[in-house]
Symmetry: C2
Subunit: 535 residues, 2 copies
């Protein structure tokens, strides 16, 4: 069956042209392109002169950040024109190792768009992490022949790269494509990092940094993520000379941001608003991305390429109106009935008791100070009963092992408690609250559900269950959004700030200064060592 699309005002990123075109599709592949009305087929769709672009490519993201399983993420992203996504299952790998990666690979096969994978290069992120897995080079090597695996994911361990750590070098040697992650790295250190063939970077925050990395031969993935929004600052680096070396990525967008703001379509809108010519933004989002990742079967509507394309709305602001995947309208692709089983042992915690939580009231403690909108925390000397200070718990979910008690300031809670199984990168249970009892209730709720986000006030528990590794849910996006709204409403009643779960999720991350909490205790990132809670 040959399906001809006439009257397409088609953007061709190979030439930069917009041309009134006919193209035909057979078995999901573009069979021919030609002058308008020049092709014959079994079915003809007149696109009425609409603007048509190749399907968009998201070059780097962690699907887990959306809370959605790959197939549901794929459904939502596809509606925003993302016909191809390149995912790094770093979060689930920290929780469940190769079983987590296998889950993602398996579930992605049910997605309506094409999801490729980069293998997590840094599990655990540091030796300080009390996580669910250690991924060795040997573990990763097993995936090197998987056609859905394109290479090694973001190499965050740049100290390891610069120190020629043997295990890091072995991982780098496994794949010809290695994504980078080198925030702020410049000068000779950047050169040494890039010299290992690390191909991309998505952590640039200034045009100057991005330009230096471009000169070093790296591709720049301009990120418009959840908190980190770099497209505006970086758009000036994209010109006719550099556009083939620049792409877009969404990194860690949450489901609400994905649904409400969009995905790569939103990156394009942001870039255009920042002054980037539309043709350059479209080249980045299609052909440049395909070239960067060696996806020679896509990125342009041309013979032999997958028939992935988007019809744009006739609006001033760039808007995806309708998406075709393999020549089929996205909204006609049936939702998969298959649910991929997640067969990983449940949470194994040794729960603290109320006795464990008692603290000396008159001593001066090292209190983690939240800075609104920042991942960096402060190290504040304060008494446990000082105004605004509340307990913070990190509970090992993997080994029926340890937990640690800390103190935090800045959430603004007046009552209740919260707990979450999303705590980068090891994703142990992290909890905070006004009373020990509510904190312990929240922790129990999360653990019993096999993961999730909980808000507790008194006996009232609102739980958003995330049964897949404590990170994702099988729920569709719309019901998940309703669940998040319910959770937010309850959270609001505690007086806590809106970004409470966001901040909470980074309070265990031992690579961002200054003071963090893991199940092993309070961690001083600057000294890179565990420190006592009290001075």
């Amino acid at each position: 069956m040959i399906h001809v699309f006439d009257n397409a005002f088609l953007f061709n990123p190979c030439t930069g042209e917009w041309l009134l075109t006919s193209f035909s599709v057979e078995n999901g592949i573009v069979a021919a392109i030609g002058a308008n009305h020049s092709l014959t087929g079994d079915q003809i769709t007149d696109l009425g002169g609409s603007r048509v672009i190749p399907g968009l490519i998201d070059t780097h993201l962690h699907i887990e950040s959306t809370f959605l399983v790959p197939q549901e993420f794929g459904r939502v992203a596809l509606a925003h024109g993302v016909t191809t996504a390149i995912a790094d299952p770093h979060e689930i790998a920290n929780v469940a190792g190769t079983a987590g990666i296998d889950f993602m690979l398996q579930d992605a096969l049910c997605a309506p768009n094409d999801i490729f994978f980069m293998l997590p290069s840094c599990v655990p992120a540091t030796a300080e992490d009390v996580g669910g897995a250690v991924l060795t080079a040997a573990d990763l090597a097993k995936y090197s022949d998987n056609p859905r695996v394109l290479g090694l994911g973001e190499m965050m361990n740049f100290p390891g790269v610069l120190a020629d750590d043997p295990e890091v070098l072995t991982k780098l040697s496994l794949f010809s494509h290695v994504d980078g992650h080198a925030p702020g790295l410049i000068g000779t250190d950047l050169c040494r990092y890039a010299a290992h063939g690390i191909k991309t970077d998505h952590e640039c925050t200034s045009a100057e940094e991005a330009r230096e990395k471009l000169r070093c031969g790296m591709y720049i993935l301009l990120r418009e993520g959840e908190a980190a929004r770099d497209v505006d600052a970086l758009s000036s680096i994209v010109d006719a000379s550099t556009v083939s070396r620049c792409c877009f990525c969404t990194d860690d967008r949450h489901v609400d941001t994905l649904v409400r703001e969009g995905s790569i379509d939103h990156c394009i809108r942001t870039a255009i608003a920042a002054g980037m010519p539309e043709n350059l933004a479209l080249r980045m989002a299609t052909l440049s991305a395909a070239e960067c990742f060696g996806l020679t079967d896509r990125g342009v509507i041309a013979p032999g390429r997958v028939a992935d394309f988007c019809i744009l709305a006739d609006t001033e602001i760039f808007t995806i109106q309708k998406v075709y995947k393999n020549g089929i309208p996205a909204d006609e692709i049936p939702v998969s009935a298959k649910q991929t089983p997640y067969q990983v042992p449940p949470f194994s915690c040794r729960f603290p008791t109320q006795t464990d939580l008692s603290l000396p009231e008159n001593s001066i403690a090292r209190v983690i100070g939240i800075i609104p909108g920042e991942l960096v925390t402060e190290n504040i000397p304060a008494r446990p009963d000082a105004d605004g200070v509340q307990k913070l718990l990190s509970v090992d979910r993997y080994h029926a092992g340890g937990f640690a008690i800390g103190l935090v300031k800045g959430f603004g809670m007046q009552t209740g408690a919260v707990a979450s199984s999303i705590a980068h990168d090891a994703h142990n249970i992290i909890a905070t609250g006004k009373t020990d009892e509510e904190i312990l209730t929240a922790i129990r709720a999360v653990a019993d559900a096999g993961g999730g986000l909980a808000v507790v006030t008194g006996k009232e528990i609102t739980l958003l269950s995330l049964p897949i590794g404590g990170l994702m849910t099988y729920e569709p996006a719309d019901s998940l959004l309703r669940g998040l709204d319910t959770l937010s409403a309850h959270l609001k009643r505690t007086g806590a700030c809106r970004q409470t779960f966001g901040h909470l999720s980074f309070l265990s991350l031992t690579v961002i200064p200054h003071l963090k909490l893991t199940p092993r205790g309070l961690f001083d990132v600057d000294a890179f060592e565990t420190v006592p809670l009290f001075h």
Copy 2:
């Protein structure tokens, strides 16, 4: 040992910038780039602000056309800035099959530049060829893991592609990179050809044709070959949007053209003369070529890339002054002392006698008419003794088998004979002359030498020996040029046109109209059948 190059006014094709730069080289690889004078090392070379560009890449050529073995070709090309060449050993493969390919692979290891290979896809060119080898998909598959083999060479058999010939499809499926060869192919046939993932084309002769192929997602290799010179006509297709999809190639340059005009440096000069901005020509010749062929370790002077670069002369016309390969000046790289043995059986001919050559004088024959400067021939009805008509012989060199006699007009010989073992694509012996005796002497001379070019007048024989498959010599370029000059001087005395050997070499090629001669007899290309010499 770290070698720092200061004061380089360096062209970076990733950004299109020219910047005063320092860069350092360690073990042949670029270690770092930075602001001028910012790097330290064991040795410092001040480039005095000279313009520096990455090493040039020739994306498609047949080394055999230079008459030089790969290592000597490499030496000459390197002096013209070609640090990387991608060769298709199509000619030697027609003569000697995989033994010929193995010879090229082996000898190329002694070249001072990097020579990669595309496997000949169409040996023999047609079933009409009486050649030395048939290369099946199974033969080619043996090379698929060779790191010097980048893919499948120019797929000339586009009728086979369009007809879904199973053997052709098997060959296409072996490699992810397939070079194309589709002169004049446009419209739906082009779409069907490109849909097989055929990535490049170097046969475009008009900007319109090239633009259509670009739109179909193909890379365009702008060719400035021996006879076919397309850069001037195609330069208008190269702009900021298309430059990353365009490269240069030299295809079939002879040694004298290579030495005297140059290689990719000459393509750049030609492009600039045609109005192409220099930066675009440089991008094509470096990064675009590397990207097209997946050579991620070159194309830009950046950390981790091979330290291949050229210093430009401070002249108005683009001129390579000095070349560095792996950080070493080209003129300091010792010439390899290794001669690669060519172990293929000698010529096996059944030589015609004078009796065989006698023809009825009064009949009207089909005479091959030479058109000066064209590969196409005419089919002229004429008598064997008509003015300017002379005998043409094609002698099977492989099977002690057949020979065929034809007639040709247009060489303008007044006396003597010529013979050659270069006769596309099967490279049997082809000869023509004024007397039977001289013709037979010339054929014998070529066969006895195991191949070459011969001019005979009376008893005087001038032979340029080409002992490697009858196509190449171990001689260095300068002595080969002297030999060619001697041959030309003798040829001049026969009254034959200067391009005699050039025309002769295409008189057996059964894919170019209209009338050709193979050892099987006279071949009418339009009817695609053997025809009798006489009407």
